[in-house]
Symmetry: C2
Subunit: 294 residues, 2 copies
Amino acid sequence: MPEKIGFVGLGIMGQPMVGNLLKAGYKVFAYDVMEALVERAVAIGAVRAGNPGDAAARAEMVITMLPETSIVEKVILGEDGVLSGLQPGGIVVDMSTTSVLATRRIAAAVKELGRRMLDAPVSGGDVGAAEASLAIMVGGPAEAFQEVLPVFQKLGKNITHVGDSGSGQIAKACNQVVVALTIEAVAEALVLAKKSGADPAKIRQAMLGGFAQSRVLELHGRRMLERNFTPGGKVRLHKKDLEIVMEVAREVGAYMPGSAMMCQIWNSLSALGGLDWDHSSVVKAIEMLSNVEL
Amino acid sequence: MPEKIGFVGLGIMGQPMVGNLLKAGYKVFAYDVMEALVERAVAIGAVRAGNPGDAAARAEMVITMLPETSIVEKVILGEDGVLSGLQPGGIVVDMSTTSVLATRRIAAAVKELGRRMLDAPVSGGDVGAAEASLAIMVGGPAEAFQEVLPVFQKLGKNITHVGDSGSGQIAKACNQVVVALTIEAVAEALVLAKKSGADPAKIRQAMLGGFAQSRVLELHGRRMLERNFTPGGKVRLHKKDLEIVMEVAREVGAYMPGSAMMCQIWNSLSALGGLDWDHSSVVKAIEMLSNVEL
């Protein structure tokens, strides 16, 4: 069971996660390219690391929480990267949402050097990170999962070992497909209600009691009615996630007409200047082409 | 509070509903065009009615539970129809899923004759009907809703007065949009999982813990994995419901790209001979074009 953890990526997700690890008594060696973020982590008790390799060398495992695949690849495999410092038997846990194919490639490189890797993307956003209530979907060797499980339990609540390397990323990709399309469905339904002369708030209430129930209807349905598009989960990130899905679908040959449609809607929100809006703003695109506002 | 209820339409939904009303102590005057269905109702304690008008004349309110709009229209407004027998102040409660526009038209005709109408479509299928756990979405005059509420409470659990005439049907239409697209989303996600080499059952489990949670993921996700396409909710009926949605969308000017896509998928299931499969069989169309089975 690790006591010292390297942590690379101290942004909107990483920062509160580091806080939870420190609170649980772990020693955390923190690194980010942005010096201000490192200082903020040091202020709450983390130890400054000089680069990802340094964070890895001083710890038994390293968590990465980064915005995109190319950065994860560089941080783990690149110069002064995690692999340059990680001790034999050490574990790198990538909690970013990244490409399944790249994850498998990185995991193979890590294994070749006698280290281990878990892919462990999360669902729940910055609120879940702060409250340590993230859903964590994990791929990689079972015994590495068991070793890291106590750490995961300080960061989240629903922790599933899905399968081999890449499986965590596949689960996250699937999750993002379902969430995106459910948001779109709720948006269409509420706009239809409004255009038909009914009260969308009452319709949402009626639907929550039936088979249409979902967490998205509950939380994002309310957001749509309250016009609360402050993120939360940004369009920018969900858009990236669906682009990863389309990449995998192309590679493995999966027919995904709904996800393809969603990519078009994200493109539209990008055109509307909404990349930093909450992803429930899908309703804005549906409203705009229906010439109505909820 | 009514004690005598006319009931027209004794099929897969109507039959168990009549049973629940009889159990609750109501006197039920039952009619269906199929004599065998009337006999089955009489066998459990209902009184035979000669036609919809007769059922109405002997009761204080009449429930209709019929397969399509044109039949509802004929049963209520036609020769020997409900309106020909219903006493002044009587209430007709259409619990079928029918066109919003037709419902408003029928309700206006009913009102003109000094009777009252509620549209009260349900969600929950034959299981919900049998267990008296239907979600009931009600449109029409508030005081008629209050009078009928004790009867609704013998038939279902989540009972919402949504608004004016037609609002119940709008709520049901919205409900069917959300359910259809959520099924499609779950189907795409599980197929992607399978094609990517992960275990769809574990992916479903992981998703249930996060923001992708929904009743559809829980129940229909399991159906897809178990290949259990015995209805349940038939493709035939959900297809009809989305066609009603498209009709309303065209009329009021609502942009519904996801619902339009769903109609194409229902068309494909029809081509595959699946009109009487459970609606979770959406996954079969996604599987077929992905050349895989879960």
